[in-house]
Structures are given as C-alpha cells and as structure tokens.
Symmetry: D2
Subunit: 356 residues, 4 copies
C-alpha cells in the first residue's frame, strides 16, 4: 500500500461501505502474501521476468482446519486446481495460490510439500488450489522463473492488514483492458442477519481497451493510444472471503455473482479467458470436519441479497483498484503496458457526472 493511490482516492464511486483496509484481509484471519519477481538480463529483453506468486490464506491456523468453499467457472480457458474436491466436499483446505500459467505445476508441488511438512501424516494427501493468469506479454513465461521457494516465501510472508496492489505477486506482469493491471482488492461491511465482512481479491488480466467501463462510463474508448495486445487472451481469478456462516452451496451462489461484478468494468469474458471465481467462509471454526455430528452456524437463503451486492461491487472495485495501483511497465522484448492515467480518468468521469 504504502501511500499508493486507490480507486476511491480518485473519487471513483462504488456502492457499499468498505472495511478498515478495504481489502480481503478485513475478513478476520485472512492473510495475503506476495512474491514479486522483476528481473532483467539480455539487452533485447528476451528474458525479462515480470511475474510472481500471490497467496491467500483462509485462516490463521489453516493447517488444522478446512473451510467451506464454492467456485464458479464463467469461462474456462484457465486453470484452478483442486476444484473437483471443492465441488465434492464443499471444502477448501489450505492456501489459495495464484501465479502465471506455466508456474501452476511448481506451485502445486510446493504447496503439496508444504502441507506435508506442516501438518499431514504420511498417509494423508494434499490437493492444492492453484490458479493462474497468462502474463506472457511482458514476462518470459516459458523461463521457469517461479520456484518452489518463491511460493513458500509468499506463504511465509502472508499477513493481515493492508494488501499491496497493482504489479505485485501473481499480478506482477498482468494486463487488463490493455492497461497495466495486477492484484486488486476491496471489502464490504454486510448487514444481513447480523454484521459480517466480505472481501474480494483479484488477479486481473482480462479485456480489451474499448470494453473498459469505470463507474458505468465507457472510458476505454477515450484512450486510443498505447494499446498492447491481442483481444481477450487474458483472464481473471477472483477470490471472495467472508466471515458469515455460509454453506458450500451458498458460497457457489456468491462465486457466481463475480460474473456480474466483472461485467461492470465491461468484460464480455472473451473466449480465450480463464475467468474463475472462488468463495470461502471462515465461519464454523473447526466444525466442518471430524468424526461426529456437530452444530454449524448457518444463514438462511433469504439473508444472501446483501452479500450478492457486496460481491458485485467488491469485485468491480478490486478490478479498478488493480488498474489504479499499477504503474507503466516495460518487459519482454521491451513491450510496454501503460498505467491508466489517473488525471485523464478523473476528467472523463467528471465530464460524465460520475466523480463521487
């Protein structure tokens, strides 16, 4: 964070009331860690490294506990491992990792080994959850630059409080709407049956310039220059966390609303994108597994509307935050992705009567 400007600082309007950090870490216990890899070598920049790893840890002591979870595939040209299990058991057991497309394997292996070292007996198993977006426009994607140690380092440094955004972690080299993007996050206070918090974190890499809408204004068409890449080769991974006691099928409902949040910035979920969304609840500590009948806290279905609204606006704000935080970056073959210009953006929004 460190004083970085965020979307609300630019008076971009969003619905809802954020938590303290306006971040997924506002959900008590949720931690986020990044490993950011930026390296240059050859003068032709054919080996430029612009990638990394982001880890979202659902619970302080996730080593001992699974949490309820559900996911949704809006478009599947992407990977999120572990989903067969999430669908089956409604459980998420361990950290969620996001990285580049070709580092899924090394991240998977690193988390499996970590699970062994920390927690699991010899005869247990681990089914890591690893998602990805493609960062090969700026990053030497085939260079095997992410190592097991980078994954464990992101995990070790995961913390609560403010979350670094923009060109960090798994979003170091990503591009959305042909602007430099990356990691973004937001949170909402939710008043339903009681008071809860819901947080969102995205690794954004989706969309074409002319599609970009902010606060309903088609701003993308105002920025015709510095376009970067082929249509819709990108993707978005979104993670939703809440401390409300939601059951697995309800978390699927939340994950599905991420699609509506993504639509707000103009994406049509291009055919080559991996737009995958995961939602989990930190409630029901230590109650979701074990040998005996137990008592779970639960919300009824008709308490969910405020959560749906929170997902939609929180996902949207996370995407815009990822754009606002990122700075212009050059990388592989000296290609460049420019930052969304804050002043011009404000001027466009003002012209449309949409500055907050």
């Amino acid at each position: 964070m460190s004083g970085k400007v965020r979307a609300r600082d630019l008076d971009i309007p969003f619905e809802g009331t954020p938590g303290r950090w306006n971040a997924i870490t506002d959900v008590p216990g949720v931690r986020v860690g990044h490993t950011t890899l930026i390296r240059d070598g050859k003068s032709d920049a054919s080996d430029a490294v612009r990638t990394g790893v982001t880890v979202v840890v659902p619970k302080p002591r996730t080593e001992q506990e699974a949490v309820f979870a559900g996911w949704f595939r809006l478009n599947g040209y992407g990977e999120l491992t572990g989903t067969a299990w999430i669908d089956e058991a409604g459980l998420l057991d361990g950290p969620v990792v996001t990285t580049n497309t070709h580092s899924v394997g090394v991240a998977h292996a690193a988390i499996a080994a970590y699970a062994h070292g920390r927690r699991l007996g010899e005869e247990r198993w681990s089914l890591p959850v690893v998602g990805e977006t493609w960062d090969g426009y700026l990053n030497d994607l085939w260079g095997d630059n992410v190592t097991s140690q980078h994954v464990l380092s992101a995990l070790a440094e995961a913390q609560d409080g403010p979350v670094a955004e923009g060109s960090v972690g798994g979003g170091t080299g990503t591009i959305a709407y042909e602007f430099k993007a990356g990691i973004g996050t937001a949170s909402r206070k939710v008043s339903s049956a009681s008071d809860y918090t819901l947080g969102v974190l995205v690794q954004s890499n989706q969309g074409r310039r002319e599609q970009l809408q902010i606060a309903g204004v088609p701003v993308g068409r105002e920025f015709a220059e510095d376009r970067t890449k082929e249509p819709d080769s990108g993707s978005i991974i979104g993670i939703v966390a809440t401390d409300a006691p939601l059951l697995p099928h309800q978390l699927k409902r939340l994950a599905r609303r991420c699609a509506l949040g993504l639509a707000r910035s103009g994406s049509v979920s291009g055919h080559g994108s991996g737009d995958l969304f995961l939602a989990f609840s930190t409630a029901n500590d230590g109650q979701v597994e074990g040998p005996k009948e137990r008592r779970l806290a639960a919300l009824p279905e008709d308490a969910l509307n405020p959560f749906f609204a929170a997902v939609v606006s929180g996902l949207d704000e996370s995407v815009i935050n990822s754009l606002v935080a990122a700075e212009t970056m050059s990388g592989l073959h000296h290609r460049r992705a420019v930052a969304l210009p804050h002043d011009r953006l404000r001027s466009v929004l003002k012209r449309h009567g949409r500055l907050g």
Copy 2:
C-alpha cells in the same frame, strides 16, 4: 403390500439391514400415496388406461417447512421440474410427484394450487417438483387421463407404514428390463456418526431384457420370450430420503450414488432414458429457512460412506422389488408386459449359488 411377495421373500440377497417396513417410509415423517388408474373401454384397447400418480411427502408438516435436498441427472431424456431451485437453494419445499410423461403439466398445476390453498400467502409462489416416466406401451399416454383430482387424492392418502409396490401409482403402466415393473422401495439402517435411516423409492421403467442382472446373475438372458419393446425407451426416477442431518452438497453426493445402484440390475442408462435422482434429509426441522443465523446439525464428509453403501444397495433392491411385486398386465392395443417369474428366477439364482 397386503401379503405381496418381495425380493427378500424370494431369498434374493442384498447387503445391509432394512428398517421395519423396508420402505422409504421407515424414515420418520416420510409418507407415500398412490393414485392408480386402470380402465378399459374400446374392444381394441386403443384407450386403455394404465397410469397414475405417486406422491412422496418429505415431512408431516411440510406445509410449513422446506428440507435440504440435492439431485443428479444420470441421463436427461426425462423431466424433473423444480430442479433449478433445488440446485440453487439446496431446498425441497413440498411433495415430490411422479406420473407419466404427459401428465407432468397437470400434476404441476395441481401442486401449485394445493400449495396456495394450504399454506402460501397471495404473494408467495410454488415451484412444484414433478417427475415422470413414459408408460405409453401399455397406457394411452395422450389421453389426458390423469386429472388434478388424482394428484390431490394421492397426496391426501399419503401415509407412513408399508408402501404398495408394483403396478401402482405413477408406476401402474411402467416396464423395466421388458418385465412389468412399477413402484419399488427399500430402506437401510445406517450406523455412522450415530444411527440413522435411509429409504429409497423408485418408479422403474428402464432397461432391456438381456441387460437384467439380479444379485449379479445375468438372469435376463434366461428369459428370451415375451419381450416387449424398443430398446431403452424407458427411464427411472429414484427418490432417497434420510433422517441424517446432511447438507445440500452431501445430498447431491447421495443422489449420484443412485447411478451405481442402478448399474447393479444391468442398466447402461440408455440414450433415451430419463434417469433422474433426488435425495433429501428430514433433519434440521424448521432450521433451513428463516430470517436469522441459526444452528444446524451436520455430519462431516467422512461419515458418508455407510450412506453411500445404503443408497447403492437400497436403490438396487427397490428396482428388484418393483419387478417382483408387479403382475402381468395387458393394456393399450392388447399389448402385454409379463411379470418376472418368481420360481424360474429363484431357480436361476440357485444355479448360480446366489440364493440368500
């Protein structure tokens, strides 16, 4: 029932221990009602009626309460209304009706009207759950013979205790493995985290003669005569009930095991079949809906294996019970579906060392 022979009476072996009635009604509160329509008119039997309605009521006071539910489509050339809601909310709210393919509409309308009369305010709505199998080999399917009154009558007469099997209710005119079939049921005591009961009811209308296996013995090929119909034009609807406190995603897991139970009698789930399975739990009375956070009872995932075994053998036994109970029937155009011959069946099983 009334003294009718059942599969176990013929010493056909099945795994597991049944409840008192070896019926879905062994799950406390679950009731079953049938309306059976058998009428003859013209001498060419072109208007023969061999159809009806079966109703499974999840709870004594289901008017006030929904139950958790989940479903599975093994093959979808069939109809089970209300599933969009079951998938979304994990809830089943009211009776489950099975009838013939072309009476889905009238049953749907009848249940909607019933819901209005009994329970729902003017601004509430009803999404009835109605399944079907095709009985047009013996029955004048296009004759509009099932009326709203027939549906309400099955509902009014729903009761606990023994359940009539064979050519009754929605199974009046159905045929499985080219033998006369119909309604069948079974139950299992399940010892898991605690002691529970699981019951199954089927409306069986699937399979070709040569596919039929009973207790693992390929008995169908021993009965080459009296074959009836085109391959795989039939279907099966299976309903699973339990008093164990299972969550919606767990009930989906149970419903999926019905496929394994169906495989035991030899079906390959033909392309034209509607093999649809629904599972619900009667636990968590009055807790699944409402305005506030509440406490649910729940079982962990690793308590489910005994339930899976109960579904597989219970579904299989229900299918065999539907065959054993049905008697030879002639109907539309004087076509005939013969009963599975009990003595010859026993003799085939004995030859294969498979009499219990």
Copy 3:
C-alpha cells in the same frame, strides 16, 4: 410494435449493429407469438388478470426438426422445464413458452398435446420447454387464468417480423427495477467467420429501483417515487437465437454471457429470482437428429468473441426495450406499476453525457 418508441428511439446508446427489426425474429425462421390477458372484474380488483403467454418458435418447420441448444442458470428460484434434456442431448425440440409462475403446468400440458397432434407418433414423447416469471403483484396469479387455448393461440399466431414489446404475452404483468416491464427484444449482426445474426428476447421481471442502470448511468436512484414491491422477488427469462452453426457446448457459452448482459442494467441477481437463459442455433437444418453419420457445419471456439459481445449488449438492450415499451399499469388490488418516464430518462442520460 405499431409505432411504439424503443430504446434506440430515445437515443440510448448500445454497442453493435441490429438487424432489420432489431428483434429475435431477425434470425431467419424464428417466430414469436403472444397471448395477452387483461381483464377486470370485481371493484376491489381482487381478480384482476394481467398475464399471458409468449412463444418463441425456433424454426418454421420445428415440427420436424430439433435444433442445437444450451442453457445457463444464473439464479434458480424459477422454472424452465425441459432442461434435463437440453443438457443431455444439446437439443431443443419445439417452441419455448414463457408465462406466469403458476401457469407452467397448463402450458406444459398444452405443448405436449400440441406435439401429439402435429407431429409425434403414438409412442413418441414430448418434453416441453416452459419458463416463467412471477407476476403476482399486478395479476391474480392463483386464478388459473391461462388456459391451454391461450398457449395454442400464441403458438398459432407466432410470426416473423416486428415483435410486440412491453406489457404483452408472458410479460403482461411483469415489473423490472420497480417499473412496468415485460417483453423486450433486440438483435445484432455478427461478423465472425462469416456473417450471422443473433437475436435476444427477454421476459423481464427483475431488480430493485435503486439498482437500475441504463447505458452505465445509475438512473434508478433518480426516480425515488412510485416504488412497487419487495426486493428481488422477480426474475428474468432470456432466449438467445442465432443462425450461426454453433454446437451445444458453444450455445451454453452464449447462454452464460446473458449474465453479463443482465449486469449492465444493474441487477445483482437477487436470491429469490429465477434468472434462466437459453440459447439455440437454427443452423444445421435436419442434421442434428437421425440414424446415420452426417456432416455438420461448425464454428471454431475462437470465432465466438463477436457472439459473446452480441449477447451481452443484445440482452441489455432487450431489458431496456421492455422498460421503454411498457406503459403504466394498475392491476390486482389496484396496485400500480409506473412506466419508466422517457423524458426524464433522456434528461438524466444527457446530464451524464450518455445520450447517443
């Protein structure tokens, strides 16, 4: 149509180029028919009828031919019958009917009988596709006002060319964003591997006033008066047609984009809504069924992006068209749903620099 103002007449901007009628009927062969029921009786308006039936016929000779189809459930508190079959076979066989929640049964029965009369031999079956939205705010939903004849009449009158919008057919009594809504339609010319047409039709009944966005402008909050109903008790059914040769799994991809189109008018798909979307292709005439290996036309996946964009903007424009066409209506218990005021809307859009 008859001179009715549409969204584009108000200079509301939408992406893409419409076909001749800017209607689903721009897809060659697709026809639409409505039965509109508006009746008044008692002075307390306790029996006011504001409902109807809309039918979309996929092909001129659909009696002989199925078409490829796919569907998507954004939220499942609603009904769309026939989906088990659509999922299984990727086929849609006959007209798609939309009506009110409690007339699903009568419509289902009417279509089954129609299929018999027109086309099917005695041993064939029909699995009608019937969707619904809840119109009980203005309409005496429990009054059994829709009859089989009304359904067949809509079918008989189905035609190509302009499509009546607003308070007609299944949308006669529906309300969206607390304004009077109903049926809306739009179309897009799609240039992909070749030139195609894509059309959309909605029966819109979703959302709360403050959620409404038009052309990205949060117009709902500008209209604080004349609010009508409880939050999110409504739903939307969307139907997408195209003459491009898309396979079933590709049509599912199109159906899923309807969610992104719905998001554009501000809906978060409330928990009690039935937001269900169906897409079909009229291509591959007479090739999708039959006994032998055949040749299908097909588009590759990477030709789909222009279709996705067409679905998103076409669905959005259909929703806005349903609002623009509808006039203020009073009904049950003299309740009233007001029309979206055209002039004030234009003025709000103008203020935001969003008049086309």
Copy 4:
C-alpha cells in the same frame, strides 16, 4: 503384455467384442507410454519407491491438433487438471498424464515445457491434463521421486499396440479392493451408424475387499486374508477413447457411463476417492480448431447406445485386467499388497456358474 495373463485368459466373461489388442490403443492413433519407478534403499523400506507415470496420447500428431473431449466427476477427492478448459471448449489438447497425488505438479510443469518445445509459439499457452491416484501405502509419496524427465520419458516411449498392465506407470503402486492393482485396459468394436472402436484405460486404486465383484459374483468376501488398508482411501482415473465422431456433449455422456462400469466391480465410490473419467474422440482430424466455418462428422444421439454399453463393460474389464495383471508387491515400511489369486478366483467363479 509379454505373455501376461489377462482377465479373458481366465475365462472371466465380459460383454462385447474387443479389438485386436483389447486395449485403448485399438483406437487408431492412440498411444500409451509408461515410466515405472521401483527402487529400494533403507532396510526399513521407509524410502521405498513404487510409483510412476502413464501417458495416453490422443493422436499421432497431437502437437498440431486438439480433439473433442468431455469428462465426469463421480467423486471429487482427486485431481484432474485442465478440466475447466475441457468443460468450456470441449477440447483436449495434448497428452493425458496419470501419476501419484503429489507428482501432479511436476507432471504439469513437464507437459507445459514439452508443449513449448514442440509446438507452441512464445505467446501460446498450455493447460496440461494431469490426473492422479494416491499410492502412499506402498510408495514414499512425499519423496519427490517423479521428475520431469520421467514424464517426458513416458511420453517419448508412447506407442500403439499392446499395453503393459498391472504395476506399471502411474499404477505401479496402486491397490484396488485391497489387492495389488494398477493399469488396466480393454477395447470394444462398436457397430452403430457405422463400425467404430472404443477403448478404455484405467489407473485403478479404489474399493474395499468385501465390495469386490467380478462377473457379478461377490468374490471379495471369499478372500478374507491379506487385507491392506483403510477403507476407500483410493481412487480411479478412467480414460475413454473412440474414433467415432462424437461431439463434446456426447463425450460427456460416455464419461458418465464410466460410473456404471465401475459399479460392476462393486465400488460405491467412497467419500475419499477421486473417481474421475475423461472421454475423447479422435475423429474430425484438424477440424475442431481454426478460423473458419468447417464441416464436422457427427453421430446422432440415438446412435449412442452401443457406445454406452461398450464403456460400461470396457471400464469393468479394464479394472479386472488391472487386478489380474498385477503381482504381489511389498513396499513402504515392508507393507504388502497381494495379487488376486487366479486359481482361487476361477474356482469361485466356477462355483457360481460364471466361468466363460
């Protein structure tokens, strides 16, 4: 193979007519390769290696071509990467790898790198398909014994013709029904609209001893000694190949029938199993991707029944072949999994009149 006994050599009866090798490689172009890792170190066998990699290559020149595919999750405590893409596009692009649970990561990375070297430009991506079963009873699962080179070696050696079965490749250390198991395969000639071939390959690791049925005979209970492990910690991966021109949604239907085939050997798909099935078609060479409208061959839905039967019996025979081929193995901590005794098995089947 090399003279190894197979299930049919023991006169175990199965339905259908196999192809030349009774193996998945009977489907023209499909190749299979194994890397088998068996190593011993310490005297307490705490580092015993009993694992490996199996690769199924869909087409001779798969580097240039994707194939249509579909998959089914019977139970999801397992991993099959790449499924989001398979669901979305109906395409499989490259080899299918199976290995142990904790080598998914290294296999994923190896295949991504291989795709780069062989075929893909810098800006393309790879979404490898890697499945797993847990072999930690006999194998030091946490030992990182599978390397990238092992994966590439299995790929390099992939060939048509006979397929090695039992304790080879990814099945080196697996156990089914508490007997030593591993890789098994089978094929069927399918006469439908024309003559086709369908092949199956499994990596079998599922079930408890008392569940085992062979040819419908409950043989497991006859072998009370030498039991090995906790209930249902295992899994099965099944791969179905055919040269029939099936579309993605039809291949899903085939994959779903694997559940019925698995049921034949007695599994109830235990809660901790990863029972995942993938089906692909080698037809429509070079037609499934590309820029323009093209012509696909296709079969109608009602040609599928013979394929369903082939999947069910082919999957079953593959499982039994994996048991028949495997020999007794000791491994980690000197634990032992015994081979299914051929003579005693024949004697049990003979007693039940079930020797072919």
